[in-house]
Amino acid sequence: MNMAGRSTIEWLLILGIATSFLWPFMQLWTVQAVPLIESEAQQKAASTLVNLMEEALAKPQRDYFPTSSFEPLPGFEAIGLEGKTEIMPHPDFSEMVLVRVQVRWGFVLFRKVLTLETAMARIRP
């Protein structure tokens, strides 16, 4: 048995088999639904993200641009949740602003970021 030389087609087969084994885990990672490991943090992060967005929408003035760095959110120190709210001019429409909220948690390589964006009129109707 010759271990040294595998032909290209053999390597492709090996790659295909490995991909078909690993792909479901990759999908679980991309939908971030791995049960038992991240589910609680994921739920909390999602609801916090929506809370941040609603708070940004309820702000009386929309024409300002706060700091663009992540800050730790009070009450979520246990999972190390950090949040960021940005209100920026809309790239296409001058009369609108783009609101973007982000939360992130976890450490490097295992960090996850959730983002939510919406566009609003700059001046209240």
Binding site: L36, S47, E55, A58
Partner: protein, 171 residues
């Protein structure tokens, strides 16, 4: 050609498969253990609480008028739904979310009295059980914060706080 004994690479392969099989069976035992089952039931429970609160938040965000926590904090919330097709609002008809006996309930209030509605957007009344604390806080004219402290159904878990901030679109 006759072969006697093992090649070293066969031994390595055999040991590797043995290790994978052993690890997999340990993992499956872990998956069917009681800890994992209680973790799963906790997860399902918090998912239910979150989905109820999401519906409540959606309903309050698009309410035509939020009457009761006009200012400050309250254990009840009274609001009016938008009327269908631009009809006039019924003058004395409010929907409400109230906390009583550790349960969050959805009720309807009319001039003749308060009645319990059977279901709220597909969720049975009471919406939440084992509620330790619930508050509806009006932080500004268009920001309402709903905060609920709920005890998981099991005996051991500690109470969890769920919070929703709601931008009131009618303002």
């Amino acid at each position: 050609m006759r072969r006697v004994g093992w090649y070293s690479r066969e031994l390595v392969l055999f040991l590797m498969f043995l290790a994978i099989a052993g690890g997999a069976s340990v993992f499956f035992f872990f998956l069917s253990s009681r800890d994992v089952k209680s973790a799963q039931s906790d997860y399902v429970w918090s998912l239910q609480v979150n989905s109820v609160l999401d519906r409540v938040a959606g309903e309050l965000a698009y309410a035509a008028q939020v009457d009761h926590p006009f200012e400050g904090e309250s254990k009840e919330c009274w609001y009016r739904r938008p009327a269908v097709g631009g009809a006039l609002e019924p003058s004395l008809n409010q929907q409400g979310l109230i906390l009583g006996d550790g349960m969050l309930e959805y009720v309807t209030r009319m001039a003749s009295g308060t009645s319990k509605t059977r279901a709220f957007q597909g969720f049975e009344n009471p919406l939440l059980r084992n509620v330790k604390k619930a508050s509806f806080e009006r932080r500004s004219s268009n920001l309402l914060v709903v905060s609920v402290t709920v005890q998981p159904p099991g005996t051991t878990g500690e109470a969890q706080i769920f919070e929703r901030r709601i931008c009131l679109r009618s303002r």
